[in-house]
Amino acid sequence: MAKVTVSKLAKLFPPPIKGGDVVRAITNIDFEVDGNVFVSIVGPSGCGKSTLLNILSGVDTPTSGSVTVTEAGKPAKLGYVFQDARLLPWRSVMDNMMYVRDDASEESVANAAKYLSMVGLDHTHEMFPGQLSGGMQQRVGIARAFSVEPDLLLMDEPFSHLDAMTARSLRDHLQDLWSRTRKTVLFVTHDVMEAVQLSDRIIVLAPGGVIYDDISIDLPHPRKASDPKVATLQAEILGQFENMQIPAVE
């Protein structure tokens, strides 16, 4: 049960061209996530979603403000799923799973195998990433992130590079995995439909990196994309976005 506290967080980037304006990726945002919840961060391109995730994971630092990610008062353990699978192409699937683990005991191997099995990849242990389809590679990426048993799982548009059919099947895998493990998840996406189907809560960011809305979704898991309740909610939330001002040029 990780606790994420973001307070007065801002991130500026230097001007992309000489003499231009600084880029305001995130502007003074505050929010808190507590407990075993699936939270989506939604917004159009360039509104600071990925920057926020990078700051949370420690890859990037904030310009001002603070973020803390704790587990029972101690720094939380993180897992990360990226847009692309980011597997080491020279290592087999199993060796990729082991790369992010600290020990290579039999127990550790069995644990990695358990997570591969949960995403339906029992038969791929000895295969190289190049032998797998894009969707299968991403499933390895998801299994890898879950297998380190993180307190907080950060996911950065993990299905955005996949075709619609594959993305749909992976969402089902993810829901299944999440229902079994109930990790705290921060899931970044630009796809509102996806966010509604997966999350308990949606934080909407607007361009400039400000919080536009914070929506709770109270529907039982797992949810099917075809469920009329999900579809109705998706339409309702999409309707709210029609008023959002999105600049044509960033």
Binding site: L88, P89, F128, G130
Partner: protein, 282 residues
């Protein structure tokens, strides 16, 4: 993908592939037979062992190089392995020197743009100096010695290794490094498991590129300043006007290079970079 059954259309396509391979071998063999035939005809026409000895004469000389002279008029019995090993050891050692110098330079150039700016010109110049210059230079500095040729071979192969390694280090996937960081991997682990495997194919490309060059320079230094080795034997026999032996040594050298390239380097590469086979298809 592994374990996929092939249908009949694909099977017949595979059959054609086998046929193509057979035809390719046939062309290869025809080429060699044709080459030897033309050589033989020319030697009959020129009718002079001192200018162009026949394939048969050269073959006799190869036999002598391996087994010694049956007439025992020359004390050349079985000199192949001594000279061959002398050359191989020199080239391999020189090559180790080249890799040992080129790899760290390449890492510096690939990782840091100041080092790159500083080292780029010297490395480029070192790479464009003709092999002959190195051969003469080390002879002047070291005289007839073991160190000279080894150093010359090291110097000629170093730039190719350095440039390739720099290319490889510059191209390490940042996404994989970020992934490693976000999973809390140490710098040491990242170097061993991400950087080195990324750079290895580039090092290998540099090795293959510079290896034949290293051999050529090795032979050249032996021609000038050695008392043993394939290059030395070519020069000695040239001075003795023993053309068949010159051609025999050159031929043995070429055969050795071909065997090394086709059967050793290609195999090591295939084994080491098994994973790349699928990367290319994907």
């Amino acid at each position: 993908m592994a374990g996929v059954l092939v249908d009949s259309a694909e099977a017949s396509a595979l059959g054609t592939a086998a046929g193509l391979r057979r035809r390719r071998y046939l062309a290869l063999v025809t080429g060699w037979v044709g080459f030897v035939a033309i050589w033989w005809l020319l030697s009959v026409w020129m009718d002079s062992d001192a200018r162009l000895p026949s394939p048969g004469r050269v073959w006799d000389e190869v036999w002598i190089i391996f087994n010694g002279d049956p007439t025992n008029s020359r004390n050349d019995g079985g000199i192949f392995w001594n000279n061959f090993l002398a050359s191989v050891i020199r080239v391999l050692l020189g090559f180790v020197v080249g890799v040992a110098m080129g790899t760290p330079l390449g890492f510096l150039m690939g990782r840091n743009r100041y080092w790159r700016a500083f080292l780029k010109s010297p490395v480029m110049i070192a790479g464009s100096i003709p092999g002959l210059t190195y051969a003469v230079m080390v002879l002047v500095v070291f005289g007839i010695s073991f160190v000279g040729p080894v150093l010359a071979i090291g110097l000629i192969s170093m730039p190719y290794i350095a440039i390739n390694v720099a290319e490889g280090v510059g191209g390490v996937d940042k996404g994989l490094l970020n992934m490693s960081r976000s999973f809390g991997r140490s710098e040491k682990q990242m170097f061993r498991d991400v950087v080195v495997p990324s750079v290895l194919p580039f090092i290998f490309a540099g090795v293959r590129l510079s290896f034949s060059l290293a051999w050529k320079v090795g032979q050249l230094t032996e021609v000038f300043g050695a008392s043993q080795g394939i290059g030395f034997q070519i020069r000695r026999n040239f001075q003795l006007f023993n053309m068949p032996a010159v051609i025999a040594w050159i031929g043995l050298f070429i055969i050795f290079m071909l065997v090394l390239e086709r059967f050793v380097l290609v195999r090591i590469e295939r084994k080491l970079f098994r994973w790349r086979q699928w990367e290319r298809e994907g």
